[in-house]
Subunit: 227 residues, 2 copies
């Protein structure tokens, strides 16, 4: 909105209308195809030329940030709700169920959870805040003796990658299959640990994996399916 | 080989040479891109025309069957080795580690484990034999009281889908991350169960999901990344 439209509903310009239409179309495209969907397919879905699309969003990350700002808010809210639960373990498992449900409902958001976008500052800021809150959630569940001591924050990223594999593979054919997988994860996270675990990936390695998920998205063939 | 070449190394015809080259190229392409790789990309990698490729392999399933015949044998051998272990639980967990390792080493084979190819008869026959042996492996581990009673054979398919998600997302950046995920699964499968589980997907639903993984491979955009 411009500074002078505080009293009346503003007439939106063509540019503003286009921007809204692009975001809505991108939400549909990312939601069904994931973040790997090309800018060209977003332009097609919107019914605008690719030049128009790039004028509004110079990089795909800008578009991703605009599309998922509200999802990221909902995600951060879920983490806050989990921290608000008086039972640390119920809070922790509630977070897992809520986050996986968001992931299952939206392929694009599933990618947001396991991909990093260094130049999408606002999105990364929200994600980092949520991550800090999640570390607190993990600490609290460990202190209460309910979460195994060797649980690593990276395990949540791995779990989301795993759930994405199930959601992508089962799709509409078995849309609730991920719930059973999430339940298995929760039971294996519960203290006391039933056995030792191979080391979790180094922070830098996992970060590279998350960058990789981003950078391969628009250009490289998908490892398991493709063009 | 033709009936008359039993004493001498046969001179292979161009057609036979081409067939061998196509299989080798397809192994490379499927191994890095998964079964979703297009027939066109296999033709490019081989350096033959698409018409030549389709003359040798009228359907992608035929090519998949030719490429993965030996992997499927190795997989069936791993199941047999697991059944040969005198300790039912060690056999069961050894199977999981071996099968996931095969999956991590070869994106294409990962897809074979979670996709069904109704018209690739020989491949499906081997897979069904391995499946029957796996049912025996599960039964044995339950009878020994080491595998939770509510474990469902479908859980192995879900686990492979989950591990595929981790392998695809981490790739070379964190190539051993799947091992930690497999260990979590094994610990959650161990008896006694730590809690109840949501119902596993119906057999028919999971079969549809496996068909879906096949049919979307060559034509539809990948849910999480894409063209």
């Amino acid at each position: 909105m411009s500074p002078d439209d505080s009293t009346a509903q503003p007439l939106r310009s063509d540019a503003e209308r286009n921007r809204g239409r692009i975001i809505a179309a991108a939400r549909t495209v990312f939601g069904s195809d994931g973040l790997g969907a090309s800018m060209a397919s977003v332009a097609r879905e919107t019914g605008v030329g690719i030049a128009t699309l790039f004028r509004h969003f110079p990089a795909k990350e800008d578009l991703v940030a605009a599309v998922f700002a509200d999802r990221m808010d909902a995600y951060a809210d879920a983490v806050d709700a989990a921290l608000g639960d008086s039972d640390p373990w119920r809070g922790f498992t509630g977070y897992i169920e809520a986050a996986c449900a968001m992931q299952a409902a939206d392929y694009g958001f599933a990618d947001v959870l396991t991909t990093t976008f260094p130049t999408a500052k606002a999105l990364e800021k929200r994600r980092n805040e949520a991550y800090q809150a999640m570390l607190w959630l993990i600490d609290r569940a460990k202190t209460a003796g309910r979460l195994r001591e060797d649980f690593d924050p990276a395990d949540l990223v791995l779990m989301h990658m795993a759930v994405a594999g199930v959601v992508n593979a089962t799709g509409e054919a078995a849309p609730d299959a991920w719930r059973r997988v999430a339940a298995y994860f929760i039971q294996s996270f519960e203290a006391p640990a039933r056995g030792s675990l191979p080391a979790s990936p180094e922070h830098d390695a996992l970060y590279r994996a998350m960058l990789r998920a981003n950078s391969t998205g628009d250009t490289a063939p998908e490892p398991s399916k493709g063009s």
